[in-house]
Symmetry: C2
Subunit: 307 residues, 2 copies
Amino acid sequence: MSILAVGSLAFDSIRTPYGQVEKELGGSCTYFSLAASYFTEVRVIGVVGEDFLPAHEDVLRQRGIDTSGIEHAKGKTFHWSGEYGANPNDCQMHALELNVFESFQPKIPAAFLQSEYLFLGNIDPVLQAQVRAQIKNAKLVGADSHPFWISTKKDELSQTIRNIDIMLINDGEARQFAGDHNLLRAAQKILANGPQALVIKHGEYGATIFFRENAFGFGKHPFRAPALPLDEVRDPTGAGDAFAGGFMGYIAAQGELNREVLKRAMFYGGVMGGFAVERFGTERLLNLSQDEIEARFQLFRELTHLE
Amino acid sequence: MSILAVGSLAFDSIRTPYGQVEKELGGSCTYFSLAASYFTEVRVIGVVGEDFLPAHEDVLRQRGIDTSGIEHAKGKTFHWSGEYGANPNDCQMHALELNVFESFQPKIPAAFLQSEYLFLGNIDPVLQAQVRAQIKNAKLVGADSHPFWISTKKDELSQTIRNIDIMLINDGEARQFAGDHNLLRAAQKILANGPQALVIKHGEYGATIFFRENAFGFGKHPFRAPALPLDEVRDPTGAGDAFAGGFMGYIAAQGELNREVLKRAMFYGGVMGGFAVERFGTERLLNLSQDEIEARFQLFRELTHLE
């Protein structure tokens, strides 16, 4: 089944203790769709500027991603610049130039309106809601957010997540959104008026999915997929989006949604997030094999599996 | 099989957002031995002052713990006072009065010299090594440490851990000891000249055990036991010691040491650490039933178990 992904397409300038890159293809939609492309067909909706060349689009097209929904606007593509320290969780932002992304109004081609899976990347929650409303027959809708939206548009975000199925955010965002440091209580507060399930990503410690009472006809015990310990986190950029891509991609590729599918999706999310951070930018997500993904999944499973 | 545990016996004054207690029985040896007592026989070695009453010793004795190795010295018992914020990882120390603990010289009764399992709690690594050397037939030796010893006696600690089997420390201590923020690399550095295995405790995210190449005749893939999400962490004091008690206690209770035993020990460590923080001080560790422990183990296993 195809996933429709809406989010940012960007040029990222990144510095980490392992090196640096200048204006490489990035953005939430890019990481998400590359990761998801190993599981299912992906269509992207986003906006780019005149500096976004056919070669950039080819990066996505070579993974079979449908780029016909990318809008080419006058101006420059969204540019982000940041630097990570020895602790991959410490990131100092140097520049945030929204450019054409500032006035982004997602336009959904008629051919995409029947998409069964929808991922709303980190964009204005008002736009997320507008896109959600147009994909009337979606079987499953996932959404990310960002501390900026939680602080500036909390009410709108609260409204948006009432109409999605699974929200995916990180520890800090969950605490900020719920106003509670305890993650279990934070999850309960977010789920009380929101989605069926909430995935909280813990970075190097994995991720936990929390369910509303009787969500999807099952639940309610949480499930946790611990991340594989990596000896090098060369570039943390895009880890959360790659997690979401593996998670949603695996779900979309299955015939049905049950608890076991969601559990495995958590592991595949962790697998793709782990691959993303092993190399700079999108490099590792461009040429994975199914065997590499399966081998990592098995390693990952062994990591916590009792006989 | 009996475990011999050496460490601190203390009075703790604790304040958290859930309440406060004054001079309640605590200390690494107390938490460790209470947790381990649900799995096997435990003997403790420690020092207390004149304010340590028979009623305090009875807390341990009621759990079947052999307290004949507790030395009663002139002066006051070790006293610690601290306050935790909404984030259980933020702890502000108000007082640290070593008292009789300052000149602690562990004396091992002859009856304890043949102990097969030994746990060296957080004390001076020089003392840890002295105790280790006396328990010549130990089948398995575990040891904890503390940022204070890592910063003031790093060389001595490095020497001590060459003669132990499993070191158990937390994220911050591992990073500090190895001088590396990356936990996998930090583990490799500590294991290179040290113990067979290293357990790194991640607080609310669980714990990972790393192995030397071919440690115990198996290894080398790490194993991670994720912690159960708790809605209330009323008092984080003693969580790491209770983890060590569940971990070592389960191992000592088994007939043999294999990879599956170590994996399950990681889960039982998490179970006991989780119980410890649900109530103030040692309260929750005093009256657990085997059924409660097994039920928690199963919940915990379900948390990450794929079919």
